[in-house]
Amino acid sequence: MKAIITVIGKDTVGILAKVSDACAQADVNIVEVTQSVLQDMFAMVMLVEIDKSNIGFEQIKENLDKVGEATGTKIHIMHEDIFNSMHKI
C-alpha cells in the first residue's frame, strides 16, 4: 500500500533528512518527494510504499509524530486512496 506523508511547518535545516531517516529505519521506501517553501513556510509531500515496512502503520505514525515534535512541524501520514478519491474522478 502507498501512503502520503505531508510535512508542514517553519523551514529549518534538516527536516527532509530527519523524515527520510525515520522512513529508512522503518523500511519505508520513498517513491517521490516534492517540496515547496513559501516565505518561510515549508511544505513537503512524500509518496511512500509501506508494504515492506518492519513496523506497523500505527508505529510509523507515532515515529513521525515524534519527528514532527522535534522539528516543530506538523506531519501526517495517510493512505494514498483518500487523496485519489477526493481529487480525481
Binding site: 516534492t34 515547496s36 511544505a43 509531500v45 509518496l47 483518500i82 487523496f83 485519489n84 477526493m86 481529487h87
Partner: protein, 453 residues
Amino acid sequence: MLETKDILETINMIDNENLDVRTITMGISLLDCIDEDIDKACTKVYDKICRSAKDLVKTGEDIQKEYGIPIINKRISVTPIGMVAAPCQSKKVVKFAYALDKAAKELGVNFVGGYSALVQKGFASGDYALIESIPQALSETDFVCSSVNIGSTKAGINMDAVKMMGKIVKQTAEVTADRNCIGAAKLVVFCNAPEDNPFMAGAFHGVGEADTVINVGVSGPGVVRAALAKGGAGKDITQIADMVKKTAFKITRMGQLVAQEASKRLCVPFGIVDLSLAPTPAVGDSVAHILEEMGLEVCGCHGTTAALALLNDAVKKGGVMASSHVGGLSGAFIPVTEDAGMIDAAQNGYLDITKLESMTAVCSVGLDMIVVPGDITPEVISAIIADEAAIGMVNTKTTAVRLIPAIGKKAGDELNFGGLLGRGPVMPVRQGSPETFIKRGGRIPAPLQALKN
C-alpha cells in the same frame, strides 16, 4: 502524482475545518430473532447484535488511523422493535430496550437506534405497547434511540398516533427531567421516515434491507463554509451553488471510500452514503454559518429559506455523483442546539419556531433539537408534529420532530446537554389551543401526490 495543493487542501479540511465522517452505522435485521417468549427474543437480539457487530468499533478505529479521517461515531440500527415484539405474549416490551442497551455497552458503540414503530396507517400488534414504553425505555437506558413514523405521502397522517406522541414526548422529558430532559433528545417523530438512515436518533433498519448492511453518514459544514469564505467574495449565486457542489463532491467521495472499506473489512454489504451536512456545536462546524457566509447578516432573517434551499440542493447534486448509492436523509440538517450559529441566532431572537418550520420545507429533516417551555401541553406538541408531518406528506419528503420540553424552564432560559447535543435557549411556541383538532383522532387522508400509479 497527486498535486501538492490538493493534498494540502485535504489536510487543511481535516485539521482546521472539521471534516469528518460522522458515522458508520451497521444496520442489523432482527426478523430472525422473533419469538413468542420475550426473554428468549431478547437473548436472541443481544446475541445477534453482538455477533454481527463485534468488529464494528475496531474497524472504524483502524480506518480512521490508516486514512487519517476522523470517524466520530460507530452506531447500530435495528429492525423496528415494534415488529420484533409483535408476537410476544408479555407486554414488558421495555426488555428489548435493555437488551439493545446491553449490546451497545458490550460493543462500545455510541448509539443503537430502532426502538421504533411504523404506524403511519395504523397500529399493528406490538406497536401500541412499544410506544407506551418509550418514556421508560429512554429513561432507563443510555444508548437506545427511538423513533415513530406517524405519516407518509402514501398513507396520510395517523392522527391517533400524533395525539399519542404529544403525550409520549412530554412524558419522556418529564421522566428524564433530572438529566436535562435528555430522553426527549433521543426520540424522533417522523413522516416519510427513510429505512436506511445512518443518523440518530432516527436510524432504524427497514424490513426491505439486507440482513446486515453498512451505511455511512458524512459531514462537513465547516468545509463548505471555509470554501465560500475563501472564494465566495463577489461571486453570484450560480457560482456559489457551484462551489458548494464541488465541495460536497469531495466530502462525499471520502464517505464513499470509508463506506467501501468498512464494508470490505467487515464482510457486510455496502448500503448507502448519506450526504447530509451535519453540524456540531464546535466553532466552525455550523450550517447557519454557511448561510451567513452566503450573505445573510444572521441565520433566521428573510432570505434564510432561499439560501437553505440552494445549499440543500447543491449538496445533493455534488454528492450524488460521488457515491454509487445515496440514501438516508441526504441534505442539510438544522438541529438548533447542535449548531453554534443557530444557537446564537435563537438566543438573539432572530430564529423562532415558525421560521424554522418554513426552513424544514426545503431541508432534509425537520424541527430538530428545539427546546420548548416545560409547561407546553401534549396537544400543542401533537399539533407541531401534525404541522411538520403535513409539510413532509405534501412535499413527498422526510420531516421529523425532535422537541425537548424543558421541564421547569420557561422561554428565554437555557438547556445545556453538553457534547454533540449542545445547548439551546427555550423557544416560545405560538399561542392558541389546537386541543379540539388533535383530540378528534382519525387519519388525514393521503394527498393526491400519493396517486402516482
